[in-house]
Symmetry: C2
Subunit: 360 residues, 2 copies
Amino acid sequence: MRRYNPDALRTLVAEITRAGGVPQSDAAILADALVDADLHGRSTHGVSRLAIYLRRIELGQIDPHAALHIEHHRPGVLAVDAGNGLGQVQAMRTLEHLARRAREYGLAAATIRRSQHYGALSYYCNWAADQDMILLATTSCEPAMSPEGGCEAFFGTNPIAASFPTGKGWPVKIDLATSLVARGNIIAASREGQALPTGWALDREGNATTDAEAALAGTVLAMAGHKGYALALMVELLSSVLSGSAIGPDIGSMYKDLDRPQNVGHFFCLLEIAAFMDTTVFRQRIDQTIDRIKACRPRPGVEEILVPGERSARNAEANRRRGVPLSPATARELDDLSERFGLTLRLREAEVAPTGALSP
Amino acid sequence: MRRYNPDALRTLVAEITRAGGVPQSDAAILADALVDADLHGRSTHGVSRLAIYLRRIELGQIDPHAALHIEHHRPGVLAVDAGNGLGQVQAMRTLEHLARRAREYGLAAATIRRSQHYGALSYYCNWAADQDMILLATTSCEPAMSPEGGCEAFFGTNPIAASFPTGKGWPVKIDLATSLVARGNIIAASREGQALPTGWALDREGNATTDAEAALAGTVLAMAGHKGYALALMVELLSSVLSGSAIGPDIGSMYKDLDRPQNVGHFFCLLEIAAFMDTTVFRQRIDQTIDRIKACRPRPGVEEILVPGERSARNAEANRRRGVPLSPATARELDDLSERFGLTLRLREAEVAPTGALSP
């Protein structure tokens, strides 16, 4: 994979997004969120998603001019209708409202309905950590996972995320799907003709399968059986049921249902650390906790105990220095979009020499 | 196991607790919380815990007269010092404060430090659901589980819980340890001389083991590997680090460390449903969600798809009708305590005839 200058990549993605009909400041938000995912090594939630977002705008299933409509509110609560706007843009707008309220009341929460796939949850959580806040975030997703005992796709991979500021230069970052594996892993195995590990998926009739094709026609399994099922339900109740968005199987598929909006729901709960304890003391306490975890006696064969968020921070540091790796297919897609919209920018101009040095 | 009238059991437990030095209204709170766990089929968190609580009071490690001290606050936030009071009592007092604030601001959160083992989290969550609120609850626990890659007990079984009101007569109840199994299961296997299933635990050196004794000297594993580890850390950061309580390995063991308070930390976040949407609409939406989950095509051999909280509600209904089952050891312990405190009440007077009918 070739590597690209992250600033130049961000500029290109923002320009394409703007040309795709998104107001300039909103295009900058989307570009920042997507490139951030690639920087952190999560290319599944990065610039590879730009094409489908723009396609859905073109088809009228995402409204790039949607206002954020607050339907219910209390001092610490917002119930938001995102009006089928871009998920990332409406989520960041909501967060800015919440941050103002959290500074006043100590915390604030929001539900967001009529939203879309909004990328990696940790983007929002890390934004909060940068401001000495803790964001708990959940989202519903298009159906992929059955309830325990069932074999129809009901839940999405329904992730839970939270980030916590530290004094280490990177936040503790928790961001996990409540499914055992992401559907993307099964798609990858299918593409490469490989068998799945046992326990990942069920076929259409609900039998365990290692056949990737059969698994794609069936459902992925929850992590840890009934516990993952319970957490996926908690995510669905907070994100979909409480928000007024579509629930479970009614959520539209981003790639397959091009004739209707997705109507995804999100839940945010933002805590200001200073409302609970002195922020400096909090940082000392979390740093000590990290140090003690890393100093635990390792299991045989384990070289280093990592804390959630540590690997991701190392990826980001390396990719900032060496450039963001993009697959040839994603790189081509971006240049095709740029050309289609009549832009002069091309990704190859942002390519970083393989020595790893970014030109100044 | 014999079964006992729940009201009489509650009265007995409250009387014993009061005789053990706890003010009357607080004794009633503890008795209600403990009997509620037995009613719901969770005897590990029920009246079998009374003896150790009273022993710790006797030793001065629990202060039955501790005031609830609010150390920091904002309109929506309380940071509470429980002063080594009874966990159940201080948790309920905190919740009552939070409920008043949640009605005004839409939500409210609290950390509680210098607390104790406080029983089943779902007791507090169900209390909130009864008032059309959603309580997200986490607690740290005495060390039992290693971080992923490590083999020293660092985290407790660090549970996450939330309940949601429905129109079904019972709440959706999510309440799960982030460990694969509770340490209690390993203690039980050890007592019965049985081998553990693979994947449950590590020995002292960090090797997988099916030997219950070796597992007790080692650590239990997180559910779903690194995902459970991440969730256990999230629980520790919210409950211990943010609250100012003891962290991880510094938390006292309830049964083993009789020379110091446990210093457990809890986290509560209470949401008023009416701040987000009409409560009647919420109930309709959650009831429809339950119905659709239960109507999913079942896997081969599965008779019924259950929703989290459903089995627990059925247990409670049956035990209210047929009496609460108690092990002979627990029954004897209660009668011994009653005798020791010079009370005339005895458990056998509350025994329910095996026909299942409670005398009126």
